[in-house]
Point group: C2
Chain length 241, copies 2
């Protein structure tokens, strides 16, 4: 009887993980803006607009992760989750993902000032990112962990993006792409931990459904950001391709 | 004129720091329970009750500090503040302040289970600690930083406590006092940083008044915890002193 229950648990866990992975069908890699980015058809202005707007997301990720830390009562979970904050903020000045994104900004021709003062950030991007941080602050911590699982899908997009940038946008200094290179190894490590946590702490059907819904919500955040960026930086016939 | 303004600023900053330091007059070192602890007049049950209840505070400190991280928009502040979380949670299993407090629990005769399941935590302690975490989550981040400044007053109490425990409570294994020893160096480092942050980010009279009020609130949290503990573990004529 115990064996049967354990088997049923395994089936349920496998189905749960499959439901999470199925959210890749709604990942923003499929958005028209990302497709055009990776096909090499974005103008310099469009690439700049994406980098400047996406900075708002990058700058808020440590605050989202700190909200998860604050809501999580388990030191053993916090002890691993905290690495994400160090990855983004850096262990000391000049290091970390936010800094790497500012270098990307410079590589595409944006000054640090015009990125950090958020002058280019459009309302739809701000609303989507703020919704993500609010989700992490106000929802159960394990749902916020589940929402991070878009990292399961990120490495493929990062690898494709790195190749696309080097091939189609030779005006961007490849040194500026360090952020994407770092994520190639960080994202799998992070998503592996998040998947462990979610499968350990989401056992009931209701908890598992909430985790899948959280990941779906996160897909909406990312997709909505690209909608707003796509609208703000439309294709132009006279674009400096 | 600029020099005069700068001088006025310095005077204001000095007065502000003096107002913060004046809160030492309301620090819980003056509470009857702490006085009796350091005089050696607490029973074994009273010491155990204090250790078990104070654990609830220790366990919530990283969550309070993560709330500050989450609310703070400055990577340079977060990069230093995050050390507090590592200090409490440890870099790996078996390390950190929470673990050291559990060792103190064992040294005074409490099992890890009865400390971590919080069975001894009395309502007044729970309410006070929860109020502190809620304060950090909901008030401006710099006020939450100011509330941490009781650390300015802590080293004296820690030094006095270490001497008192070794002298008056020989039944406590001195190895269990490692938490207090660590705080002798951590608290001055932390309070120095917090004081830098507060003087940098609280410039207007209203901001400075809010910072002093936050520190006063924190004194209330600590004092209220001792009131609740004192009530729950009264002196007894038949106490095993």
């Amino acid at each position: 009887m115990t064996a049967t229950l354990a088997d049923a648990d395994h089936v349920a866990a496998d189905e749960f993980v499959a439901s999470l992975r199925a959210q890749s069908q709604r990942y923003h890699s499929l958005h028209s803006f990302h497709r055009r980015m990776n096909e090499g058809s974005l103008s310099r202005g469009q690439v700049q607009g994406w980098v400047a707007n996406r900075f708002y997301y990058q700058a808020n990720i440590p605050r989202k992760d700190a909200a998860i830390l604050s809501n999580c009562p388990y030191p053993q979970v916090r002890r691993r989750w905290i690495r994400r904050i160090v990855d983004h903020d850096g262990a000391s000045a000049g290091e970390g993902g936010i800094e790497a994104w500012l270098s990307l900004g410079e590589a595409v021709g944006l000054s640090r000032a015009e990125v950090t003062d958020e002058r280019h950030v459009v309302p739809g991007v701000r609303f989507a990112v703020d919704a993500y941080v609010t989700f992490a602050r106000t929802r159960p911590w394990v749902e916020a962990v589940a929402s991070s699982l878009t990292e399961l899908f990120a490495p493929d997009l990062m690898a494709e993006r790195l190749a696309a940038f080097e091939r189609h946008y030779p005006w961007i200094d490849p040194a500026g792409l360090a952020y994407f290179r770092a994520r190639l190894t960080q994202a799998p490590r992070d998503s592996e931990h998040a998947l462990e946590v979610v499968t350990e702490y989401c056992r009931t059907p209701a908890e598992q459904a909430a985790a899948v819904a959280a990941l779906s919500f996160k897909n909406d955040v990312l997709w909505s950001m690209l909608d707003a960026i796509d609208t703000a930086y439309p294709d132009r016939a006279d674009a400096d391709r």
